[in-house]
Amino acid sequence: MPSKQEIYEKVVATLVDSLNVDPEEIRPEATLQGDLGAESIDFLDIVFRLERGFGIKIPRGELFPESIFQGDPEYVQDGKVTPKGIELLRQRLPFADIDSFAKDPQVNKISDLFTVEMITRYIESKLQAEEVTAPSAS
């Protein structure tokens, strides 16, 4: 199992390829859309590259869920995510920094949850899970 740093470096290389950005622009807290200029189609590209690069399967919506709230007023009111919505975010995006987001939960800032660190943590958990199910694999 690669170390977190090794995973991070590979995630960076993936993003450099996919988004055509300089490695220097990439920090753990960099947001995919705001900082790195990812567009919606790039998310599919990133998923393909991560699957290939790490040899894992990423089920649809697991890393980058689409329309989490579906316009439900229980989850979003006056442009802010409700406490119930925050709970839903914790379930759907367990690797994102929801605590920081919850301090000022503006719904139009949701895209900031998708950071390099979030992808790294997701991949780390995926690889750990695989190690548990296949302990003999080196």
């Binding site: 390829d17 599919l44 590209d45 998923v47 393909f48 649809r60």
Partner: protein
Amino acid sequence: MRWVWIDRFVAFEPGKRARAVKNLSQAEDYFRDHLPGYPVFPATLLLEGLAQTGGILAGQAGDFRHNVVLAKIHTAQLHREVYPGEMLEYEVELVDYRAEGATVRGRALVGTELVAEAEILFAHVSPDKTTGSGSAAGNFVFTGDLKKLLGLNRLLPTQPSPSTTGPD
């Protein structure tokens, strides 16, 4: 007129790879302007041909249920110009495939000479997600008799079809 930039499929392995040809004729309109006095096949159309070969390979992998839309060309290398009278052969292989889209790697050859290569990402748009009417609604990519037109009917495994048309 359909926007078709391949003439015919010559090989098709479902879900894996496909090969199509495109003959370049001096009679095609664009050669008059591209370039005046020096006819060269526009690289954009070459990429379109590669994308169509790959898009149909990806489309068939999903049984033509999705609209396969060109989303991104990762890399494209053009090794030399292509001229009227030459026959392009587009070879593509399906690199990634999932419900949301596909990636293909393609090469364009004239004879055995590699003239271009590209990696292309497609996104799937479900017919039920499209809005509007007419050509923008429903399945707007794989319409009409495309399979017959491109010789795919002969290459794909036979499926029960209501069509009574014989082989061309």
